[in-house]
Amino acid sequence: MIKLIRRNLLRNKRRTFLTMASLAMALFILSLLGVVNDAMSFADDSAMPDRLVVRNAISLTFPLPEAYEQRLRTIDNVVSVTPQNWFQGVYKDQRPENFFPRFTIDPATFRSVFYDLEWNEEEWEAFAAQRTAFAAGRELTEIQGWSLGDTITIKGDIYPIDVELQLRAIYDFDEPGQERQIFFHRRYVEEAMGNPGQNGTYWLLLDDPEAAPAVIAAAEAMFENSDNQVRAETAEAFAASFTEMLGNIRFFFSMIGLAIVISIFLITANTMAMAARERTTEVSVLRTLGFRRNQVLGMVIGESLAVGVLGAALGVGFTAVAIQGATPFLDQMGFGFGGFALDVQVLATAVAIGIAVGLLSGVFPAVAAARLKIVDGLRRL
């Protein structure tokens, strides 16, 4: 039986190989899509339902006055407010591994809003006390080989100043992707710039996530008649607008994925149907020899299942190798804020799809083969 399945698979080597390869290829692409999708879903994972972001209504690149911080604090349900500013700049060179988010913050209020980062208190005190200090996520310090006390220079680009910073604190966060940022004092940049009194975004902590719509309305209304109107949104919406097209891309990816699954199913099903049809006579011969209907059924299904399993294994193997190879690269392209990892779930899904495709595409020809009356099968020559 097994031998017969194996031999039948080898009968038309090219066809079996092509089917398997197309299945493998499709699952490879599918897994890649899944992995990329996962990497992009960090925005959702790290959604902070109790926090809002307030920014300039025109665009993220326009700042807001410093004074807004105090006024935002007066809105009902707002527990705390803290400024945060995208400094950007260049560390060392343009190489991707030296690109990581750099924010300026206010240590006085930072932790009251971003309460989910974990700090060593002494380190935090040291960081807060030194105007030129910076704090970095643990993962980033490991990548860069920094230790406390090290000094780095960031060349400004948006801001025409270079900052020299000393590492004073390292934080942990349970989302590894969030450990790849640095924070330093907003005052440092402000003073170097001659105190323009501006800030990019304000982050608000709410006492109740349910109040978000009301706070958003209140914040936007508050500055409606000022020169700098604001846009307030949830952290999640902000993350999405920060990478605006990601949502669309993910949907697009899902559609591509679906199309791939359907087409490999059709391809495999067609091949299996062809293979089984060619063997109508043989199936009848086997049954004449005394093979039972179920054995014939099992044989045809077994064959396409084997194609499915091997194709899946091949595809997943490819993916594993490709991801291993490409991770450091993709990771630092900025794709990988959320960590670009080979997710077991993605692989399991790919394998499951491969097996399902194999099974399903085998079922129809198998049932047809088993249903066929022996005499009719023998007659068809």
């Binding site: 031998k3 017969l4 011969v285 004449t288 020899l289 005394g290 039972r292 009356k373």
Partner: protein, 234 residues
Amino acid sequence: MAETVVQLRDVTKNYRRDAFELKVLQGITLDVEAGDYVALMGPSGSGKSTLLNLLAGIDQPTSGELIVAGQQVSRLGESKLALWRQRHIGFIFQFYNLIPVLTAYENVELPLTLRKSSRAARRKRVETALSVVGLQNRMKHYPRQLSGGQEQRVAIARAIVTDPTLLLADEPTGDLDAESGGEVLDLLGQLNEQFNKTILMVTHDPKAAARAKRLVRLDKGRLVASAPGGGTGA
């Protein structure tokens, strides 16, 4: 007194074709004793293959009684029937119908894989069957590497390897040249004489029919004559 391997009582077979009922077999009554060698002749479309298929249990009669190897064949369900076929029937096709992806050895072994037996016991049987048909030196050949006559001999080995009660052959020489056909007929005669196999063979060739012990003629679904053949044993 030899036991009766085949007992047909007023067997009919109709095929429906749209509204039209095609009466292929119209009341066949026939006995075949163990050790007999029967040639079944008749014009094309007279129902020879249909009759053979009924005997092999791969088709069901419309009416009548059909006892083969002591079993009312039409009473068996699919799975039991398959088992019965595997035990009692050896079928030889006109076009050999070997499985192309399997070697001669594996083709002959195929029916034995349905039985519980050791690999060594199987090997012995397969080798015996292949040596009976004179192909013990072609065991590793695939069907496409064999001549038509050799293929048919492998097919015969496959049919006899289970030591079936009844050998059924549907125009076994129909696709062969005179020489290979002659070899196949020699082989069938030998199986009948030396191994006492009961054989029922459909043929168009009077010379082939002459090798059998008994000749049965079918015309338009009826047996028209049943006479002793010119076979060696008669």
